[in-house]
Each structure stands twice: as structure tokens, then as C-alpha cells.
């Protein structure tokens, strides 16, 4: 469960998030959409404690993360898996070292045991084991995202998954595979997930709970039917280029 309560966040004099509140129950998925620079990714950074809000409260599984000690925050981060924009793989490490990074750093597991878990994880995210010794820049964009998802999953066995633009810049086949993987994770592992994206067609595939962020404020919070019927000019403006996509989608149950 994740809850934002009247969160305000600014960098210098510029307000990035302006009084945002929302709640995601355990096991649910939420899509956060909005134009570039609207504050979507910042919300994920706030959940991870990578940025501190000026005002308001953030609750993760019912517990406030504001003002807590860094060590306590680390414990909370262990329940959160984050897939950063473009993967954020460690470019000097191999795929295997990236995926097994958390285990290498934080456990006393033997190398061959970690390698076994890494190979299992690569299979789970739909990658061939033979790429284990490759460097990230030898992989395609889609493969990098899947390695990043594998790294997040093997790192912490998360109850919450955060995805920052997981399908941006990928070809349709790769987008399809990443979306399928996210949906599979939601159903098989019952994780609470937040997907930040500005690609509406992909968003509809993952969940029917949406937030549209406009200039640091929530312009919309609801499902696809409510979105279609919204008269808010900010929502109408944002959805204008995607009118056809929305017309073809009906509210539905997602795993």
C-alpha cells in the first residue's frame, strides 16, 4: 500500500509537486501519466526516499517514511523494486553482476549460488542465459529493461514495484514483451505497482487506474471511462492526441 498525503516538493524556488494525494491499495497497479517535466518521475523518487518532500506525508505499507532514519529507509527500500528510466544498469558490470548485484553486496551467498539465481531470473524475465557475461551496452534497449526488472526482483524480492517509463524508446515487439512481463509480475507475485509513462496505449494494457499529472498537480484520478468523460481542460488537452486510442478501450478488470 502506498499513500501520498498532500505532498509538496520543490527544487529551489520551483515547485515540482503541488499538494498531491492518492492511495494505492496492496496488490493494485496504478498508471501515472503526464507531459514531460510534469513531476511523474519525482513521485517515484519520493517513494524511494531519493528526494524529501517539503510538506505532507508518504506512507508505505501504512508506515510514514518522512523524517525516518536512513537505516530504517533502507529496510523499507528492501520491499521496493525500482526499474529506472533507461534501466540504469551499472555499465561497468556484466549482466550477471547487475542482476546479482544485491546478493553480491548484501549476502554471504557463494558465487555459484548467486549465479544459479541469476540464471533463473534471466529465464523468468525472458532472456537467454548466454547473455550473462555481456556488458549492458551490448544489449538492445528492451533487453536492458528486462535485465533491470530482473535486477529489481532479485535484489529485494519486492512487494512494491516502481517502473519509470519502462517502454519508452522501444520497438512494438519489445513494448509488448515488457508489458506482458509487468502484468505477469502483478498476477504471479501480487506486487503493488506504479508505472510512470506518457504512452497511453501501453498504459491501458497494464491497468485501468490512472492518474494524470499536470504541472505538479493531479488533474485526474480514476479509470478509463471516467477519463473519457472528464471535462477538465487539462485532461482533455493531454488526451487530445490519443482520442482514438481511448475510444476503443473500455474499463475492464486487470490482474
Amino acid at each position: 500500500m502506498i499513500e501520498f498525503r498532500d505532498i509538496h516538493y520543490s527544487i529551489g524556488d520551483k515547485a515540482i509537486i503541488k499538494g498531491v494525494s492518492f492511495l494505492i491499495p496492496e496488490g493494485d497497479s496504478l498508471i501515472i501519466m503526464g507531459h514531460s517535466g510534469s513531476g511523474k518521475s519525482t513521485m517515484l523518487r519520493l517513494i524511494l526516499g531519493l528526494a524529501k518532500p517539503d510538506r505532507g506525508d508518504i506512507l508505505v505499507d501504512g508506515r510514514s517514511i518522512i523524517g525516518i532514519h536512513e537505516k530504517e529507509m533502507q529496510e523499507i527500500r528492501k520491499r521496493i523494486g525500482m526499474v529506472f528510466q533507461d534501466g540504469a544498469l551499472f555499465d561497468s558490470l556484466t549482466v550477471g553482476e547487475n542482476v546479482g548485484y544485491y546478493l553480491l553486496e548484501h549476502t554471504k551467498m557463494k558465487y555459484h549460488e548467486i549465479e544459479g539465481k541469476v540464471r533463473e531470473m534471466l529465464q523468468f524475465v525472458g532472456l537467454k542465459e548466454e547473455i550473462i557475461d555481456r556488458l549492458p551496452d551490448q544489449l538492445s534497449g528492451g533487453m536492458q529493461r528486462r535485465v533491470a526488472i530482473g535486477r529489481a526482483l532479485l535484489s529485494t524480492d519486492p512487494r512494491i514495484m516502481l517502473y519509470d517509463e519502462p517502454t519508452t524508446g522501444l520497438d512494438p515487439e519489445m513494448v509488448f514483451q515488457i508489458i506482458r512481463l509487468i502484468k505477469r509480475l502483478n498476477s504471479e507475485k501480487n506486487v503493488t505497482s506504479i508505472v510512470v509513462t506518457h504512452q497511453i496505449a501501453d498504459a491501458f494494457e497494464i491497468s485501468d487506474k490512472f492518474i494524470i499529472v499536470d504541472d505538479g498537480e493531479i488533474a485526474f484520478n480514476g479509470n478509463v471511462d471516467e477519463m473519457r468523460e472528464s471535462k477538465d481542460s487539462r485532461v482533455v488537452d493531454f488526451l487530445k492526441p490519443f482520442r482514438d486510442s481511448i475510444a476503443n478501450v473500455k474499463a475492464r478488470e486487470f490482474c
Binding site: R77, F84, E105
Partner: protein, 262 residues
């Protein structure tokens, strides 16, 4: 009025940046204590900094040593004191030339590398990824570089001193026409505690300057590739200037502390 406002803005920005650098430096020092210790990363950095800079330090050291020996021997010849060449060379190299030359070479080569690497990691979210995985990025990335620099800059300085004195020795024999014994005995006369202390205190200070500024600039780089490029340039310029300014300050401070040993 506007000029004053602009000037005040600069002062404010400088004070703010200095404050952030100071706090970051304290964080780096604090990160040296307590587990985990990243021994393999530290050894890797020692290799990259030490072995990687060795050729440049040696090349500049021998060239500068020879150039200085030519100048000094000409001047000393006017007073019939060419026998003092080794003495003058030892003081100039051990106290000033060796530390500054090695410091500037490491600053040019290593500070740029550190800032570029850390800046790229920052802009590609790799540093945030480390935090997300429960790793203290300052301890993981900055502390090994700080330790490696504190060890390797003095080592490179000693090697620079030795090679510069050897360069001076070549000039002493073939151009100044003084004997090896005269040169090395004169050098040995000035290998005293005070000179050696000042010659080894400076590289430690320079190592701290290079580590603090280059890591800070890398960790705070913003604005993508362009921002990393700017941070890298700033890092090299700032470390070089700070080394030259602090060289004077350290010289004055150490001179007043150990006057009796010089």
C-alpha cells in the same frame, strides 16, 4: 547598482557552492569509517591512479628537472658556484616542483576521469540505483578514490622528485660539467627532515583537494551529457587552481611550524 547586484549574486553562489562542497567533503571523510570496506575498489583505483599517471608524471618530471638544472647551472656559473647545483635542485624539486607537478598531472588526468565517470553514473541514474539497493554511494564510489589518491599522490610525488633529480644530474654531468659526486653530495645535504616533511605534506593536501572537488563535481553534475562535460571542465580547472593556491598556503603554514628544521 546592477553591477553590485551581479557581484553579490556571484558571492552568494560561491558561498553556497563552497558550503555544499564542505559538507560533501565531511561526508567523504565520515564514509572512511565503519563497514563495509571496499578493498577491491580501492586497489583498482590505486592501480588506475598510480600506474595510469606514472608515465605522465615521469615524463614531465624529467623534462622540468632538466630545464631547471640548465637555468640554475647558468646562473650559478656566474658566481662560480656550480657545485651548489644539487643543493638548489633538491630544495626546488622536493619542496615545490615535485609535489606541484605531480599534483597538477594527477588533477588533469584523474580529476577529469573521476568527475566524468561519476557524472555519467549520476545522469544515467546509476547512483540512485545504488541507493535503491541499500548502498551508500559516497562510501562505495568516493571513499575508495579518496584513499587511493591519499596513497598514490605522495608515491607519484616521490617518483617525480627522483626522476627530476636524475634529470638534473644528467645536465650536471653533460652541460654543467660537474662530477656526479659533487651533485649527489649536494643533493644529500638538503635531504633533511624539514624538506622531506614539506615535500610529503603537500601531496597529501593535493590528494584531498583532487578527491573532494572531483567527486563533488561528479555527484552534483546535472544536465545530461553537456552537464557532465561542464562538470568535468570545472573539476580540472578548480582542482588545478586550488592546488596552486593551496601550495602557497601550505608552504607558509609548514614553514612557520617547522622553521627550525629547514
Amino acid at each position: 547598482m546592477k553591477l553590485i547586484e551581479v557581484f553579490a549574486g556571484w558571492i552568494k553562489a560561491f558561498a553556497y557552492e563552497s558550503q555544499r562542497l564542505f559538507y560533501f567533503s565531511l561526508k567523504m571523510i565520515a564514509s572512511l569509517f565503519g563497514r563495509p570496506f571496499y578493498a577491491s575498489e580501492t586497489l583498482e583505483q590505486m592501480y588506475l591512479i598510480g600506474v595510469g599517471s606514472l608515465f605522465f608524471v615521469m615524463l614531465t618530471g624529467i623534462s622540468a628537472g632538466q630545464a631547471m638544472a640548465v637555468q640554475f647551472s647558468n646562473e650559478l656559473a656566474d658566481f662560480g658556484s656550480k657545485g651548489y647545483l644539487g643543493r638548489v635542485m633538491a630544495i626546488a624539486i622536493i619542496r615545490e616542483l615535485g609535489p606541484v607537478l605531480a599534483g597538477l598531472m594527477v588533477a588533469a588526468r584523474v580529476a577529469s576521469g573521476i568527475t566524468a565517470e561519476l557524472g555519467s553514473m549520476k545522469s544515467s541514474n546509476q547512483i540512485d540505483a545504488l541507493i535503491a539497493f541499500g548502498i551508500n554511494p559516497v562510501k562505495k564510489l568516493a571513499a575508495p578514490r579518496l584513499i587511493a589518491l591519499i596513497i598514490m599522490v605522495p608515491v607519484l610525488t616521490i617518483l617525480c622528485d627522483v626522476i627530476s633529480l636524475l634529470g638534473g644530474w644528467i645536465i650536471a654531468i653533460f652541460i654543467a660539467h660537474i662530477t656526479s659526486t659533487t651533485y649527489w653530495v649536494a643533493v644529500k645535504e638538503r635531504l633533511i627532515f624539514g624538506n622531506l616533511f614539506i615535500g610529503l605534506a603537500k601531496p597529501v593536501v593535493f590528494a584531498l583537494i583532487i578527491a573532494f572537488i572531483s567527486c563533488y563535481k561528479g555527484f552534483t553534475a546535472e544536465g545530461g551529457t553537456k552537464g557532465v562535460g561542464k562538470a568535468t571542465t570545472d573539476s580540472v580547472v578548480l582542482t588545478s587552481i586550488t592546488i596552486l593556491v593551496s601550495n602557497f598556503v601550505v608552504t607558509k603554514v609548514v614553514f612557520s611550524l617547522i622553521k627550525g628544521y629547514l
